[in-house]
């Protein structure tokens, strides 16, 4: 296949198929290093702290959080939306980029999808524990019961239940289906009988026959087709939690596209944060190249600009609407007691990604890493700003109030970070971080050795 000479190779280092398998499977076969143990100790401690704080919340009540009669949602829902947003990159990469035939996705889709799952798990925790009576959380499911109780299909929170659970299920399936050929590979390479048996089970009897491949390809495509609209729908639905309300600052029709763009924006930032470290630690620089980083940075600049325009549109519409409550809500966002949160949001989400117009910075790993952290912080603050600053001063000034989180809420947030990174650390020891089979598929067409040989022949 002809590849344009200006296109960068997607796999460098003159890899052979064997080499690819060897290198990507290395972390699974070898013993983890000290850094891994140190990391997992840290993340598990954070997770335990979070669990303790969740237990304390459920035992004592939501009163242990900093919420009050005016501000019913705070860090809990901020974290929920933030995690859901982060969970957007994986599916975007694997489904939408697959449909658009973006080959560079093959190096990053596996870990991005894993990240999606872990992020959605973290996100899913919050709606449950932020309930006053989490033990009755099953009330949100429309199950048949003798009391003829039924759920309220008008409520965006109910839509959330379906959106998040569907998204999680489809993402999990998609991820797992993609994993099957690689699990087969790992199974074949395992020496211990026990591990062989485990991977054997997990591989669903994968043999690599043509029939298997054909089925694998078609199910992947079907799932990609299913997952692609979900990428758009999940965060649209999450945004309706706010957009369908009457609270100034929430009641905004721009929310669905703005939330989706923001989600992909933050998702890619988190992928970058993780992969820049992972490629270094696991020696995968030849698979996740600077070119990959640059491609992701381009998506960040696109989505970041959409988010920036959305922020400005919100301000414009608030002024243009002539509604005093709307106008005050946005004035208060920018200049009220939470101005610092708004400033952090604006700086991190709108100004900093604009630096990526410089090619040098796009390809600078240290800069990208720092920027990705900035975006993660900025996108967290975006949700904080939307939720808290809208609620704390709404219609009746008599009820205006202030919010600050308690240690319990902070602890729970740290706990979900712990859960996320614990899962990721376990994941890199158990499954190949890069889709072996898929990378191999682009090696011949987009690998560096192939490029050179082909160009030589022609010239």
């Amino acid at each position: 296949m002809y590849v344009s000479p200006i296109r960068e190779p997607l796999v460098t280092g003159k890899k052979t198929y064997k080499k690819i398998t060897d290198e990507i499977s290395a972390p699974i076969e070898g013993k983890p290093g000290k850094a891994w143990y140190a990391g997992i100790t840290l993340t598990v401690s954070a997770l335990l702290l979070g669990l303790a704080m969740m237990g304390y919340t459920i035992w004592q009540g939501i009163g242990t959080w900093g919420l009050n009669k005016t501000i019913g949602w705070g860090w809990g829902i901020t974290n929920f939306v933030w995690w859901v947003g982060i969970g957007h990159a994986g599916t975007f990469i694997s489904a939408i980029l697959l449909l658009f035939r973006q080959k560079w996705r093959t190096s990053i889709n596996r870990s991005a999808e894993a990240m999606t799952l872990f992020a959605v798990m973290c996100a899913g925790l919050f709606p449950l524990i932020h309930m006053g009576r989490p033990l009755l959380g099953f009330f949100v499911f429309p199950y048949p019961n003798t009391r003829e109780l039924w759920v309220n299909f008008n409520s965006p929170l109910l839509w959330d239940v379906f959106a998040i659970s569907t998204y999680f299920t489809v993402s999990l399936l998609f991820w797992y289906v993609g994993l099957i050929p690689d699990i087969g590979t790992i199974r074949d390479r395992m020496k211990s009988k026990f591990k062989k048996w485990i991977y054997g089970l997990l591989s669903f009897g994968w043999t690599g026959s043509a029939k298997h491949w054909q089925r694998h390809e078609s199910i992947s495509l079907i799932l990609a087709g299913l997952a692609a609209p979900l990428v758009l729908s999940v965060h649209s639905i999450v945004s309706t939690d706010f957009a369908t309300s009457v609270i100034p600052g929430w009641h905004t029709t721009i929310f669905p596209p703005y939330f989706v763009a923001g989600a992909i924006f933050s998702g890619f930032a988190m992928v970058l944060t993780l992969l820049i470290v992972t490629r270094k630690v696991l020696n995968l620089e030849n698979y996740i190249t600077v070119g990959h980083i640059e491609s992701m940075n381009k998506i960040i600049i696109a989505t970041g600009s959409i988010v920036g325009i959305a922020y400005i549109t919100e301000l414009f519409i608030a002024w243009y609407s002539g509604v005093e409550y709307e106008q005050y809500a946005f004035l208060n966002r920018a200049t009220g007691p939470y101005w610092w949160a708004y400033l952090i949001m604006m700086t991190c989400n709108v100004i900093s990604p604009q630096l990526l117009w410089f090619k040098k910075l796009r390809r600078n790993l240290v800069f990208t890493f720092i920027l990705s952290i900035f975006i993660n912080i900025g996108m967290w603050f975006e949700r904080f700003v939307i939720i808290v600053t809208s609620l704390h001063r709404d219609y009746l000034p008599s009820s205006w109030s202030m919010y600050e989180p308690t240690m319990v809420e902070v602890g729970i947030f740290i706990g979900t970070l712990g859960l996320f990174f614990t899962c990721f650390l376990l994941f890199i020891r158990v499954f190949p971080v890069i889709a072996i089979a898929e990378v191999k598929s682009v090696l011949k067409s987009s690998g560096d050795q192939k490029d050179k040989s082909e160009t030589k022949e022609k010239h």
Binding site: L67, K69, P127, G132, N152, S155, L157, D394, L396
Partner: protein
């Protein structure tokens, strides 16, 4: 035997021919087979499945039943005649505590009082109540109450106590030693008679009446001016113009419940009435009355005396009489005098001063304005204030000199609320025979050697004459909970008489009150009827020629006029609206009721003017040291006069139950009770910060049309002034408005009548079992009140306009809360109510967020003991112990941790009204159902009714041009509406 085969394979291999030789399976194994793959070998069938079902059912039954504790509900063996379970009984009675009086109905359920309501038949309070009256029912179940007679810490039987007391009394009588009976003001005719008999029996007894805030100046001034000692009757409803010098007559002065009704009656704009009284308040602290005034003039307390004299002079000038030589008055006073003169005979000047000479001048002003006989009269009197401060000073002197050998105290707490409390307590310790007769411990009773505990008023018989010829009865709603005895019965038994006080009252009434009427042929029917009504108000015509006769006016005028201006900071003490003089400090409902003006609860604090705060760089919450005596947190109160500070008394109780102990600081010692203020106060900022529990922290309406208001003149020209857009958005939606074919319940709040007193919020708390959360939780904005009174300041921060707005659930027909609940726990009834299904609520708080009125309340912790998780109770006020839970309204469920609650428009009362109507086979009558807030309101500002009933009072108000919905532009279609506030401001 022929071999039959099913298939060729079977024929060939001979398989299947051998029957399964395995051991027969046991029951459980067979059952478990159904989980195997559907192979022929496993022989589980439908029966096994049923067995499994049965087994699971049995197990789950056993497991589930282990958890439940057995709770016994014991039915009546013999049903009491009057008690029908589930049906409330009402008994007419009276509330009387110190100087507070109210005619009430006691609501009892299954024999226990659970709620106090106003008695409509009373000609004094007319069905109105105050927050303290509403809260008094909780005191019945106060855990700190004395439970039996005591000597020191030793429990006594009543017989033993009686013997001891009688011995002591006789010993003192025989030795002719001085002995004092110290009580609060007694305005019960029978009690007075008992005391008089007691004094006749023991002539060495001296009776001293003591009020923490006495009305001595009024009493003396009337005696000097008209030769008739006593507090005059005020009729604010007859006054077209009211000028009040520091008299907080809507808050704490004399009888606020009565005043609020009179005041708002005159200002009610309905039935074609378009006139209102014009109210001018001249005061230093922004009081509840001042915040309702049409014009408020902030002045220092020291300046008031001169102003009053100047006003007198101006009026004399207008009357064409000889004037006194006093400094020339300013334009304000000239204008006021002119206005007053134009409202001659229909104006009223009052003063809260404790200076007799001030009250003399005020009397003179009213006399010159010819107000006597119309807006106030001295022949009819208020009897709830009788104390003479000098008696108390004499008592202290006698105690210190050792002349006094014995003391009995009843209903007073001078160690706490007397200025020389410390000296009083030292002297009290030296007295050999001291006997307390209070129901709850206080600083004074703690120092007494003997204790004969009184009943709670809900356990007592009594009668009252709060005003001339206005009698009322007090009857018990329950038998005494503890081994206590009424004060009067105790006195009677120590005289050696029949200790049945009820008989004594009956005899007294037969002799004295029965002859005052002619309607009833015999005493029994008269008595029964009066008891049922609660009040007896014979129409006694009195002709009194009010003659002002005071020779030396000149000296009074000069005395007041020459008082030099005090340049320093002046301190005033005031009673807080909730706590009063501190007698009810152990009542958690009152402690948690925010002050109407400052919106602070659970504390007292120093009110400082904004200018002073700026100068001293003080902010709300900063702690200052006052005269190096007390440290107090500061509250910057808009409207507080510059160079004045004020702090509430009644706080800082040391000896009382757990609720009121150490709440705030006792400041009674700072000021003699008969002084209005003290000057030259030194304030020093300490740098400490103190967290005040405020239920409202933002005081401006931000220019939003939340409380809509207009001036009276504008209103006269245009009835919808200030409310031009009223109901303009009603049909703005593309959807049709929801229809409610049968009933459509609604509520209207007249903002022109609401004075912000807060009685409704306590009534709601009592009716709906609203939990108490405590100070820390209020600081975290976790208070649970279903109805709150928003207070906004507008205009000038040094003398702001104040607006009050009660806000409860608006019961929107297009409710934002309803469509966001994922489990449909909040939904709309077919009668227009927004209802909560607590059992269904999972606590997402989305409804609370989406409520534009922020009236939904979340149970942040287990406040009520209704949570299933142990050891997480948050109960600071003992509200969940069995004794106090007796106050719970059984018609309203208590809410568990983690659910949202809110105003239900007293759905239990609606249901009761509907059922009553149904039983009688008729429609619900207008006015038959009253919500708790409406019932409690002394000004009738809240009206509940059926919006579908076109004849109802409610519809009359909602079709008024003044009617509007709160935030109607967001189209929530509330069932609750408001009427604009009209201020009678003169240009």
């Amino acid at each position: 035997m022929n071999k039959y085969w099913k298939s060729l394979t079977e024929l060939k291999n001979g398989e299947n021919s051998v029957p399964d030789q395995a051991m027969p399976k046991g029951n459980l194994e067979q059952i478990l087979d159904i989980f195997d793959k559907n192979e022929n070998a496993s022989k589980s069938n439908r029966r096994d499945f049923l067995k499994l079902c049965g087994f699971s059912l049995a197990i789950s039954t056993v497991v589930a039943s282990c958890e439940n504790s057995v709770q016994k509900a014991i039915p009546y063996l013999i049903k009491p005649e009057e008690v029908t379970p589930g049906k409330a009984n009402y008994y007419a009675s009276s509330f009387a505590k110190g100087n507070d009086y109210c005619s009430i109905l006691i609501k009892t359920r299954e024999g226990r009082p659970i709620k106090i309501e106003g008695n409509d038949l009373s000609g004094v309070t007319h069905g109105g109540t105050s927050s303290r009256v509403q809260a008094s029912v909780l005191d019945l179940y106060d855990t700190s109450r004395y439970k039996h007679p005591k000597k020191g810490n030793q429990k006594l039987a009543w017989e033993e106590l009686d013997e001891t007391v009688k011995k002591e009394l006789n010993r003192l009588k025989n030795a002719n030693e001085q002995f004092v009976l110290l009580t609060s003001s007694i305005y019960s005719p029978s009690t007075i008679s008992v005391i008089q008999k007691f004094i006749a029996e023991y002539p060495n007894v001296k009776w001293v009446q003591y009020d923490s805030q006495s009305a001595l100046a009024l009493i003396q001034a009337n005696e000097m001016c008209f030769g008739k000692a006593g507090v005059a009757e005020y009729r604010f409803d007859y006054a077209d113009m009211i000028v009040s010098f520091d008299a907080d007559f809507l808050g704490t002065w004399l009888m606020p419940v009565e005043h609020i009704r009179q005041y708002t009656k005159k200002r009610k704009l309905c039935n074609g009435n378009i006139s209102m009284s014009h109210h001018i308040q001249i005061e230093s602290r922004l009081s509840l009355t001042g915040s309702n005034a049409d014009k408020r003039i902030p002045v220092k307390p020291s300046e008031q005396k001169l102003l009053i004299v100047q006003l007198y002079n101006e009026i004399l000038k207008l009357a064409g009489k000889e004037i006194y030589s006093v400094p020339a008055s300013n334009d304000n006073m000239k204008q006021i005098a002119k206005d007053l003169w134009s409202y001659k005979e229909k104006s009223l000047v009052v003063s809260g001063s404790k200076d007799t000479s001030v009250q003399v001048i005020v009397n003179a002003i009213n006399f010159e304005l010819e107000n006597y006989g119309s807006t106030l009269r001295v022949d009819k009197q208020l009897h709830t204030f009788k104390a003479n401060d000098s008696d108390m000073d004499q008592l202290l002197k006698d105690m210190k000199s050792g002349k006094l050998k014995g003391i009995i105290s009843y209903g007073v707490n001078p160690v706490f609320d007397y200025q020389q409390g410390k000296e009083f307590s030292d002297a009290l310790k030296k007295i050999d025979f001291s006997l307390a007769m209070d129901e709850v411990p206080n600083e004074t009773t703690a120092l007494m050697s003997l204790l004969a505990p009184d009943n709670h008023f809900l356990e007592s018989w009594n009668d009252f004459e709060p005003k001339t010829n206005r009698y009322s009865l007090m009857q018990p709603g329950i038998r005494p909970l503890f081994d206590t005895r009424q004060f009067q019965s105790s006195l009677l038994s120590w005289m050696g008489e029949d200790s049945n006080y009820l008989n004594f009252i009956k005899n007294h009434w037969e002799k004295n009150m029965y002859p005052m009427q002619t309607a009833y042929p015999n005493f029994t029917t008269f008595w029964n009827h009066t008891l049922q009504q609660g009040v007896f108000e014979p129409g006694v015509k009195s002709v009194f020629d009010t003659k002002f006769s005071l020779a030396n006016m000149n000296s009074f005028v000069n005395q007041l006029a020459k008082q030099a201006d005090n340049k320093g900071i002046e301190l005033q003490l005031y009673e807080s609206i909730a706590i009063g003089d501190g007698k009810m400090a152990n009542n958690p409902w009152l402690q948690e009721m925010p002050d109407p003006v400052t919106k602070i609860c659970w504390d007292n604090y120093l009110c400082v003017s904004p200018k002073q705060a700026e100068e001293m760089m003080l902010e709300t919450g900063d702690v200052v040291e006052l005269n190096s005596q007390v440290k107090l947190p500061v509250y910057v109160l808009p409207g507080q006069a510059y160079n004045t500070v004020a702090v509430a008394t009644g706080y800082g109780r040391q000896v009382c139950g757990v609720v009121g102990k150490n709440v705030g600081i006792n400041v009674n010692f700072l000021l003699p009770s008969n002084d209005d203020f003290t000057g030259d106060v030194k304030l020093v900022k300490t740098g400490e910060i103190y967290n005040l529990a405020m239920t409202q922290t933002h005081h401006s309406m931000e220019g939003r049309a939340i409380v809509r208001e207009a001036g009276l003149e504008e209103y006269k020209k245009n009835p919808s002034a200030g409310n031009e857009s009223h109901h303009a958005y009603e049909n703005a939606s593309i959807y049709e408005k929801p229809k409610f074919p049968n009933h459509h319940w609604g509520l209207v709040v007249d903002l022109n009548s609401c004075v912000g007193c807060g009685a409704c919020s306590i009534a709601c708390q009592s009716e709906n079992n609203v939990p108490v959360v405590g100070k820390k939780e209020v600081i975290r904005a976790h208070e649970m009140s279903w109805i709150r009174i928003d207070r906004y300041f507008s205009g000038d921060e040094f003398n702001p306009d104040v607006s009050f707005q009660p806000v409860m659930c608006q019961h929107c027909d297009n409710a934002p809360c309803e469509n966001v609940c994922p489990v449909a726990a909040t939904n709309h009834s077919s009668e227009g109510l927004n209802q909560m299904a607590y059992n269904r609520c999972i606590g997402t708080r989305y409804c609370g967020n989406n409520c534009p009125y922020k009236v939904r309340r979340f149970n942040w912790f287990d406040y009520t003991k209704a949570d299933s998780i142990p050891n997480n109770l948050h109960d600071v006020a003992e509200m969940t112990i069995d004794l106090k839970r007796m106050v719970l309204n059984p018609d309203v469920t208590i809410r568990a941790k983690g659910v949202i609650e809110k105003c239900s428009l007293c759905v239990q009362r609606i249901q009761e009204g509907k059922l009553n109507a149904k039983i009688e086979g008729r429609k619900v009558k207008d006015g038959e159902i009253k919500t708790a807030c409406q019932q409690a309101c002394p000004s009738g500002a809240i009206i509940f009714g059926d919006l579908n009933d076109k004849e109802s009072k409610l519809v009359k108000e909602t079709s008024s041009k003044r009617n509007y919905h709160l935030l109607e532009e967001i189209h929530t279609l509330p069932s609750v509406s408001y009427l604009t506030k009209i201020r009678n401001k003169k240009a």
